[in-house]
């Protein structure tokens, strides 16, 4: 188990967003979190990344407890994420966005960069090279100098994932990676995710609504409804599970 969540409960004010949740993600797995809107999936992400502090329970990553570890430190321990509504650094180029992910791999101090000492140059050269290699893997190396806000939606998503990979994670959290994409973009994306997963030895935890995508990608899924776990198992079993179907139907009725 690379990630274990034990008895996680999250309350906002009086509202329980997540209720006593237990699950674990095995190393090398692609694990899907699904469920109707407002089921608590993104909240769960925010707990794992340290943006929220759970009311109760523990998160264990790589045999270490994450309680009290700050979000930026959690990244250094090997958990990277993307956001539901792509959040690139809009004033920066694609390359710069990815270089931000390499921040900690460039090994020079503030004074070394002010005085432009050799380590500044050698490290900048190193991470720029690595960033370009990463962009090539995503097939967007030619866009390196383009401003990130002028990219197509699909390419923005790629940059966001590349940027997350730049932090050298062991666990990658993807929040609705296929949202807003057309079928061919989705196809392209799932191939890339599978490719990088093997290449970087990643474990992936993803939130997704597109059941076809989930079916195709995930080894295992967890279905959440109103903060409670209603199913855990193979994706193909999930879609025929009574509770799951009921939860989704309920969601459609409300919507």
């Amino acid at each position: 188990m690379i990630l274990e969540l034990k008895n996680i409960t999250m309350q906002f004010g009086g509202i329980t967003a997540i209720d006593d949740l237990n699950f674990g993600v095995k190393t090398g797995e692609i694990y899907g979190l699904i469920g109707p809107n407002g089921a608590g999936k993104t909240t769960l992400f925010n707990i794992v990344t340290g943006n929220y502090t759970q009311t109760k329970g523990t998160v264990v990553f790589n045999h270490e407890e994450l309680s009290g570890v700050k979000p930026n430190e959690i990244v250094l321990r090997g958990i990277a994420r993307t956001f539901q509504n792509i959040r690139l650094f809009k004033s920066m180029s694609v390359l710069e966005n990815v270089l931000i992910g390499f921040h900690h791999q460039a090994n020079y101090t503030y004074f070394e960069s002010i005085l432009r000492l050799p380590r500044h140059f050698s490290n900048e050269k190193k991470i720029k090279k690595e960033a370009m290699i990463l962009l090539e893997k995503f097939g967007i190396a030619d866009l390196a100098d383009t401003n990130s806000s002028s990219l197509s939606y699909g390419n923005q998503r790629k940059v966001e994932i590349a940027r997350a990979l730049a932090t050298n994670p062991r666990l990658l959290l993807l929040d609705e990676p296929a949202a807003g994409m057309n079928p061919s973009e989705t196809e392209d994306l799932s191939n890339i995710i599978k490719k990088i997963k093997t290449e970087f030895g990643l474990t992936i935890l993803l939130i997704e609504h597109d059941m076809k995508f989930v079916n195709q990608m995930c080894d295992k899924v967890l279905v959440l409804d109103y903060g409670e776990q209603i199913f855990e198992g193979k994706p193909s079993d999930a879609i025929v599970d009574e509770k799951v179907v009921a939860a989704y139907l309920g969601d459609f009725e409300h919507a």
Binding site: T42, F45, N46, N51, F83, Q84
Partner: protein
């Protein structure tokens, strides 16, 4: 220090605290709804005080002058929002803060050009300037009137916020509850209302200030505004009750420290700042505060 001096200082503290509270409410309401430090708020207080002064000079009786001052401040507040803030609602936060500073500086210098920087004596009717002697306690009558009026205004504000449709909409905007649209209320009207209420209270606070000290100048709103903002943060920004509590704590501290430690008199204006730093260090949400700045994912 004998008991009567003590009581006298307490009363002064309540009075000063009331003034800070009135001005702090405006900061807290605007911050709650727009997440913006309205740097011009202290200057709107100055505008209120100046209009009251000018109206009286023109022969208008004090009571009417006060009403004119309140209206002028409300108009200034609403116009500030319409001209300088509203067009930037979707712009980066820093743009809004810069225009806020621009408006503040504009008002200060405009009044400086029009009326000069020299402080002007502010006159008020006799019933406000009387001195009360009671059992060794000597206080101007204003220090009694100010807290009473403040209390009445506070009840009105709380009634508006808690019992009226618009008031509830203000609160829901402040806590980011997405009910505003559902209730069919235009957010622009709510924001206008917030500026109107805040500016009216600032004008009253400014007039109280002018009567107490009794002089006004174009820069009078700067330091008072800064202190009132510190009071709002101390109480918990976004909370009206917090603004009042913060105002009182600050008012008391200033009066008490100066009364008991006269050596620190020169640093009186620094207390608000020290409070601000301490609150940010130990309890950034303030006394009554909700975590308005929690990032939303």
């Amino acid at each position: 220090m004998d008991i009567s001096t003590f009581v006298q200082q307490m009363i002064n503290g309540i009075s000063l605290g009331s003034m800070y509270a009135l001005i702090a409410i405006g900061y807290t309401l605007v911050y709650g709804v727009l997440r913006l430090i309205n740097f011009a708020h202290g200057d709107i207080m100055m505008v209120g005080a100046f209009v009251a002064y000018l109206a009286q000079n023109a022969g208008i009786p004090f009571e009417l002058a006060v009403i004119l001052a309140i209206i002028a401040a409300m108009v200034t507040g609403i116009l500030t929002d319409k001209i300088a803030y509203k067009p930037l609602r979707n712009a980066p936060k820093i743009s809004l803060l810069i225009t806020a500073i621009g408006i503040s500086f504009f008002l200060e210098n405009l009044f400086n050009v029009l009326f000069g920087g020299v402080p002007r004596a502010f006159s008020a009717p006799d019933y406000l300037t009387k001195i009360i002697h009671y059992d060794g306690i000597i206080v101007p009558v204003t220090v009694i009137i100010i807290p009473v009026v403040t209390l009445i205004l506070l009840f009105i504000i709380l009634w508006i916020l808690n019992k009226t449709k618009y008031g509830m909409a203000i609160r829901s905007l402040a806590f980011d509850i997405p009910t505003v649209k559902l209730m069919g209320i235009n957010a622009d009207i709510i924001i206008m209302l917030v500026f109107a209420i805040g500016s009216a209270l600032a004008a009253i606070g400014g007039i109280f200030y002018a009567v107490s000290y009794p002089s006004i100048d174009p820069l009078m709103g700067v330091i008072v505004g800064l202190k009132a903002f510190a009071a709002a943060v101390l109480g918990g920004i976004g909370s009206v009750a917090g603004a009042v509590i913060g105002g009182f704590i600050l008012g008391f501290t200033e009066i008490v420290v100066v009364a008991f430690m006269p050596d620190l008199g020169g640093y009186k204006d620094a207390f608000a700042f020290i409070f601000l730093i301490l609150v940010l260090l130990f309890k950034p949400t303030g006394i009554m505060g909700q975590d308005l700045d929690r990032s939303r994912f």
